[in-house]
Amino acid sequence: MNRARSALLTASLMAAVLPIASAQPATPAAPTAVLPDKGGGELDLTRFPGQVIDEVVVPVPSEIFTVLDKLGDPDWKAEVGITPKPAFSERTDVALLLGATVADGFIAVQAEDKKSVEDVGRNVLSLAQSLGVKDDVIRHCQAIEDAANKTQWDLVRQELDATQATVRAKMQQMHDGALAECISVGGWLRGTQVITAVIGKQFSDERAELLYQPDLAEYFNDALEEMLVRAKNPAKLKDIADGLARVRELMDNGGGEISAAAVREMNQVTSRLVKKITTKP
C-alpha cells in the first residue's frame, strides 16, 4: 500500500500543528518535534504530542451531493438505476448491497424520481431485515416514502443519511464494525461510479477535483484487507480491495490534477465492482 502521500500530508500538517502543542502549558512531558522518516516518507505518530482518533472521517453521501448541486445540473435521470436485490445469505454481501442501495436513493433524489426513491426505501427495509435491524430503520424508510410523496428532496437526503448512520451504529453496537465498513464501501463505490459518469460526460478540472479522495479509498482498502482473514468469501472482498487500490492511485495521481482519462478509468473500475456487489456470481 502506497502511503507516502498521506504520510507526507500528515507530516506537513503535524509541523504546522506543533506551535499549538507548545502553547499548551498543561501538556505532559511530550516530544517537542515531529519529523517524517525521510527515508520512507512514513511519519512516526507516536512522537506527535496528540492522538489521532480516526483514520479518516468518511463523509456522509449528502456532503458530496451538496457539492454536486453547485456544479450545474447534469442529467441525473440517465444515472438512476435501482440496484438488483439478489438474495444473499452472507451478511457481508448484504451490507455491501445495502450501502449501494442507499446510494441509489441519493441518485434518485438528484433526479427527483419519486418512484425510484420509494423503491429504494422498500429495498433498504428488506436488506435491513436480512441484517436483523429492520426495527431500527423502519421509521427512516417510512419518512423517506412520506418525504418523497411530498417531493421534499432535502428531507429524503437527510433520512437516507440517517438510515445509513443508524445501520452502521447498530452494527457497531453488535460489535460488527466490519459490516459497518462494508455498508460505507458499497455506498461509496456506487456513488463514485455515478459521479465519475456524470463528470465524465461534462468534464472540467473543477468537477474532477471532487474526486480527490485518495485517503478514503485507502481507508476502505485497508478495512477490506483486514476482513479478508476471516471472510467466508475472501475472493470477492479481495477483488474489491484491489479495485479500491487502483481507484486510490487514480484519485491521487501523484498529487496532480485528475485527468479525463483517470475519471473514465475510475468509472470502469467502480462499475465493475458495483456489478460484483449487486449480482450473484
Binding site: S6, L9, T10, S12, L13, A15, A16, V17, I20, A21, Q24, P25, A26, T27, P28, F48, P49, G50, Q51, V52, I53, D54, E55, V56, V57, V58, P59, V60, S62, E63, I64, T66, V67, K70, L71, D136, A143, L155, Q158, D161, A162, A165, T166, R168, A169, Q172, G177, E209, L210, L211, Y212, Q213, D215, L216
Partner: protein
Amino acid sequence: MKPTTRPSLSDAMSRLLTLPATLLAAAFFLGAALPARAVVDDSHSMAMEAAVDAVKAGFKIRQEYWNGTLKSGEQKIVRQQLFKGNEYWFFLGTDADKIAMKIDIFDRKGNKVTVETKKKENATAIRVLAPATGTYLVVFSLTGQENEQIPWALAYGYR
C-alpha cells in the same frame, strides 16, 4: 475511535428550523434526551447548543459525532475529508466547567484554514471553507485543572 450516533438528533434539528429562536436551545436539549436507548451526552448537548445558529443558517448537522475524555492540555486530531464548495462548522463541547478550548483545522500544506471562531462557555465552534477537496486535520485541545480528565464531543455540519 468510532463515531457515536444519536439517532433522532438530525430529525429533531430539521424540524427545529421552523421553531422560534427562543425555543431552539431548549428544544435541542429535549431532542438530545428523546431516544430512550441513547445515553445523554452532556458534552454533545453543549456542542449542539453551539450549533443552533448554524442550523438556522441552513447547515445540516451530521448525526454521527465523536466523543471521549482527554487529559487537560492533551491534543487530539481527527482526519477529515472535506470538499471544495462546501462550507463547514465544527462544534467542540464539554460539560466540564472552566475549560479553555482550542480547535483549528489545517490543510495539506499545514496552513490553518479556519475562517471564523465562536466561543461559548462550554463550546467552541469554527467555520471552514475548504479551499480544495482533500484531507484536513481537525486539531483540538481542552485545558482545565492539571491532570483533569475532561469529557468532550466533536460534531460538524455542512451546507
